[in-house]
């Protein structure tokens, strides 16, 4: 069993990276890997509530983040500095997350077996 960390740093709707990252996270979790998610920089925008990707022809994978607990993905970290940079408060986020500082993210990246960046 591997500790796999998926790090989201790209904006949600302009590229498919976010969707690919979430697919990999859910797939790995269903294969009993210990999956954790980290959202940094523009990746934090994945967590904004009330998004409507269909409006611009996008597939709504954003709401799938609500299914994380079903896959036993409990550790979802968000970069405190990035939230501040993008002016997002905790209340605007769609799912329960753990807001952490840079050192905590660095420590987490060191503690897991693999990190994949999307």
């Amino acid at each position: 069993m591997k500790k796999l960390c998926i790090l989201f740093r790209s904006a949600p709707q302009g590229t498919v990276k976010g969707r690919e990252g979430l697919d990999l996270a859910l797939l790995s979790a269903s294969f009993e890997q210990e999956v954790s998610l980290v959202f940094v920089d523009e990746g934090v925008l994945h967590l904004l509530k009330d998004q409507q990707p269909e409006l611009i022809g996008g597939k709504d994978y954003i709401s799938t983040f609500k299914a994380l607990p079903l896959y036993d993905i409990e550790s979802v970290f968000v970069c405190k500095q990035s939230l501040a940079e993008y002016g997002l408060s905790h209340g605007l986020l769609s799912i329960p997350v753990t807001v952490v500082n840079d050192e905590a993210i660095s420590a987490h990246l060191k503690s897991v077996d693999e990190v994949l960046v999307f």
Binding site: R9, D41, D113, E114, V117
Partner: protein, 93 residues
């Protein structure tokens, strides 16, 4: 120890900026393809200086930067594999 791998130019993508934000001082950073251009810009060269830095040789030679980046540790693909095995993991940003 983590080997951070940057393949894009900092002017095109903030992979390097984010890598530097979360890298620890004992980590190593490898620049390849357009990532090598970061060293041409003072601000990034300085930001990279505290880390063990490596650059993929072919990408430097291909871009005619051998002269300009003469004081940088150039590694070939075999060395890249060796470094990847040496470190706990590789993070490609």
């Amino acid at each position: 120890m983590i080997l951070h791998h940057i393949q894009t130019s900092p002017n095109r993508d903030n992979a390097l900026k984010l890598c530097l934000r979360y890298a620890c001082k004992e980590d190593a950073i490898l620049l390849s393809s357009d990532g090598v251009n970061a060293l041409l810009l003072r601000q990034w060269a300085m930001a990279l200086s505290p880390f063990k830095l490596m650059v993929l040789k072919d990408d430097v030679i291909a871009r005619g930067l051998t002269e300009r980046l003469s004081n940088v540790c150039l590694i070939d693909y075999n060395e890249f594999v060796a470094q990847a095995l040496l470190h706990d993991k590789v993070i490609t940003w």
